[in-house]
Symmetry: C2
Subunit: 111 residues, 2 copies
DNA sequence: TTTATATTTCCACAATTATCGAAATATTGC
DNA sequence: GCAATATTTCGATAATTGTGGAAATATAAA
């Protein structure tokens, strides 16, 4: 992943409405939610939501699939995974502290 | 960390010049780099850089310390750590796949 | 105090982003 | 085809963000 792509990904979630949308879809799981359901749950007008869904999709953080009259949007966990890997590798170089505190990770002492 | 703060943090690195600055400072280590050095290395006019440094500092991703005539900016690894933790916890819920692929982490098989 | 250096603030302007109603475009069922 | 529903596109507008030269501020050295 290059800086350009990272900025696109980051920009797509660096906005309250879009971060809300993405978090909602992360919770919703692989099957996702129809656009209308997202709009209702978050209280966002359809046209505004559509604008944000486009940004998230364009960045690759969402997938969309048509099902009958509905369009289901779902979080692309792999894309988010790649973003997290980029940030961990490129924005924390040489700093052990700068890693998510996963249970499998044991901190080494530092001066 | 709430959504609001996360958006502030994300916005601060969701821009090419600022992501460049942050990555440079991550490489530079705890002692950081003087503003002028950053401007020279990245070829950014002083006033423009100052604008971006303010955004990063305001988000808490940089620390600044005066030393003689220079102001040294350094990456705040802890803040980035917290952001990564937020993203891992809140934007990947229920999805084991959505975690940085650290060497200490062993993937479980998935369907 | 004067000069030099480092950085920021100010300002004007350009560019991008966000909002949302209305109209347009599907898709489905009658 | 017509009506109903779901979503997107269009268009106008507001708000925010990014850029960089010039001036202001701060620190240091002569």
């Amino acid at each position: 992943m290059d800086n350009r792509l990272a900025v696109t990904l980051l920009s797509s979630i660096a906005q309250e409405a879009r971060l809300d949308v993405f978090r909602l879809l992360v919770q919703a799981g692989r099957q996702g939610l129809a656009a209308g359901a997202i709009a209702t749950k978050l209280g966002i007008p359809g046209s505004t939501l559509s604008f944000h869904l486009k940004a998230l999709s364009h960045a690759g953080l969402l997938t969309a699939r048509q099902e009958s009259r509905f369009i289901y949007y779902a979080a692309n966990y792999e894309a988010m995974n790649r973003l997290l890997a980029f940030l961990t590798e490129n924005c924390c170089t040489g700093e052990q502290a700068c890693r998510p505190d996963l249970d499998c990770y044991t901190k080494s002492e530092e001066g």
